[in-house]
Symmetry: C2
Subunit: 467 residues, 2 copies
Amino acid sequence: MIKREKVDTVIIGAGPGGYVAALRGSQLKKKVALIEEDKVGGTCTNYGCIPTKFLLHETQVLAEAKRSPRIKGREALQFDWAEAQKTRQKIIDRLVKGVEFLLEKNGVKLIKGKARFGDKRLISVVSPEEEILIEAEKVILATGSRAAELSCLQADGRKVLTSREVLELKEPPSSLIIIGAGAIGLEMGSIFSRVGTKVIILEILPRPLPGSDRQLAERLGRILKRQGIEIQTEMRVEKAEVLSGGVRLSGTCLKTNSPFSLEADLVLLAAGRRPNSEIVRDVDSRLCGRGGFVQVNQFLETAWKDVYAVGDLIGGKLLAHKAMHEGILAMENACGAHQVLEPQNIPLAVFTDPELASVGWTEEEAQEIGLRPRVSVFPLQASGRAVAMEKTEGLVKIVADEAGKIIGAHILSPSASEMIGEMTLAVRLGLKLEDIGRTIHVHPTLSEALSEVSLKAMNQALHLLND
Amino acid sequence: MIKREKVDTVIIGAGPGGYVAALRGSQLKKKVALIEEDKVGGTCTNYGCIPTKFLLHETQVLAEAKRSPRIKGREALQFDWAEAQKTRQKIIDRLVKGVEFLLEKNGVKLIKGKARFGDKRLISVVSPEEEILIEAEKVILATGSRAAELSCLQADGRKVLTSREVLELKEPPSSLIIIGAGAIGLEMGSIFSRVGTKVIILEILPRPLPGSDRQLAERLGRILKRQGIEIQTEMRVEKAEVLSGGVRLSGTCLKTNSPFSLEADLVLLAAGRRPNSEIVRDVDSRLCGRGGFVQVNQFLETAWKDVYAVGDLIGGKLLAHKAMHEGILAMENACGAHQVLEPQNIPLAVFTDPELASVGWTEEEAQEIGLRPRVSVFPLQASGRAVAMEKTEGLVKIVADEAGKIIGAHILSPSASEMIGEMTLAVRLGLKLEDIGRTIHVHPTLSEALSEVSLKAMNQALHLLND
């Protein structure tokens, strides 16, 4: 027997975009159904942000202890991967339960099963136990993404892994080739390198973190190399052979136009992600654009009336906080608002050591769109806190327009992911250099660099020579 | 022979207040002389902020490694205090040289020696080598402060120490009594406790960090106790005896009105500081107010025409960044501006684990001045990043006025000292709850708690139940 449900809004996918949309809907007094075929919390909580940040934090504690000449006995330290795996799962379970609790207390109807479009506002959900037919005024699609595969190399879950499986390994491999030097590649490379795996990262483009500020990305690449991670750029993988003891990759080094061949125990695919857009593509392929991402207008509406899409599914920066923010906007728009997404106000962070965080325009982008940006840089060698932490490799860069309005900020520093909040606020509110420059920052902190770099752009830096 | 110099502005004291004033003066094309009898960088660089932050960072690396069940071999770790002392001095030397370099390149005339007022704008400086008589249009006093002593207990540099000497110990004591549970007491207590010293902190008032948000300060007290630091409040020290093997303190527990007697290897005086105001007090005692602090008006002008004072010397929060900011304002005012100091915009931070950082009004202060504040709290148990770091003891509190304008923020969290920058900006610019609430913060970060706590005050929190 098919059960029937009628709700105001049905949301497909209970990752960050979906569950946040559901919670916002509940605040707006809507009856909301949330459908998930796997686990609440989505990739972020279960297989992405959360487990990586746990492992990054833990392995960094190890790495910091191992490199401090002030700590006796550090040479003997070893990472207990099995113990870490237990804690990883405990942390995930706690957060998933937390989200389930919030959904329940907010009266969101959570339905486990695989959704399929009937009519455009009629969704059927099939689970082993039952089939439910849901009729809704509005639909929000939030089905997320999965690791992209190469034409020559598919994930097999054994030797060729995605970020999901690599986090669940019973023990770290002795060698690992990571394909892709984006955020996932660099974070995974950091984790495994710190626990003793020999890590090689292959990137087809000329530098790590394509799209980021060039100077910062290149500097981060050099820092990671000094930490023992081999990053090879302009490397095109063309052929993969799974051997009994590992994987052999071969291809062409585009710099020298010469062939390469590399072997490792395991390979991690971190060369982009593709959208889980089958749910609409199978019904109406016109909804999807380049790369299969669902196309939306500035209000997050798809080509189908009353159907919205958010998160990784619609492309752009594939980030959990972008998905959450879009989830809020889509739900508010489904309730009659006209909220517009402003991509320039979405920060990003890479949780390496140091972290790289960024918001707004890069110097290169600002030039490309014809602005004549005022750019200034403050190196952490001039930061008292960085010197006291012996972490002076980073730098902070600010991009302002000709009138001194801040249009971008790029931070390579410990705690950059926390410091970028202030600059996101500045970019979002259109603040000026003096607004940050004259705001008092605690001494000694790394965030003093934010005022210094702003003052520098006005030739008023204090702890750095002005031009 | 007495040398004579004529400058636009003479600054007495080359700590953060003084040297920053000098650099700003140089930017404003003034001829500046800067007088220092000890070391450039003052207490902050040489004996305060910088060496404590180095030791806090290093000992925290140790403490984190020692408590992670994922790190094998952690039990055997020990801190190499002697090695740390070498690095402490190297870091200080590097930063002092950095400031000297900046002063030189900016054309500031640095004069080493003891300053004395002749006439109000005529300063004589005596050093072993020479005597210089400096005539200036304007004078900025920035002579700083030193540890206050108790009537029953004076520092002797051997068993009864100030923060300056305790940082330079050849080895950590096996036991240490710290008098005063302010920022210095808690930070020093953390450092020594982490390297194995048995630490007792005695505070005469009913809670640690008097003047801070009550809930956060009390919670931090409990957290530090769990870290092994004994904090005893309402303890009045009345008598001290230096013994051959240590110090015995006795006094009254004000809670129970019963006597106490405690012994330790060493005692650290951290019960407030007093101003180095002899330079004016000896000439005209009317310049000084309560506690000997030099009195200034809102433009940082003293009762003497064309003489300004900044930093610890004028009291208020005794913080390096307050001194720097006042140095800038005083120099700009000496050059004809009318910059006013706004104490509500000065953040503070205590670098314990977790850190406590604060700006603007506390809940208690807002009530005292008759506001009806909207207060909301976000516990870090609801933060994905805190859960992934297993550091969920902290909380974030926001204080807004009835119209939703943010008037205070109080953060107990790792990285609080970096996160407070965003809230300082908010308080300074008079931003509203929705300005922070709707600003996208990177997931997963601790600073997401800033938007959550703002949303909570509007009943729109996502990762926490609303009322």
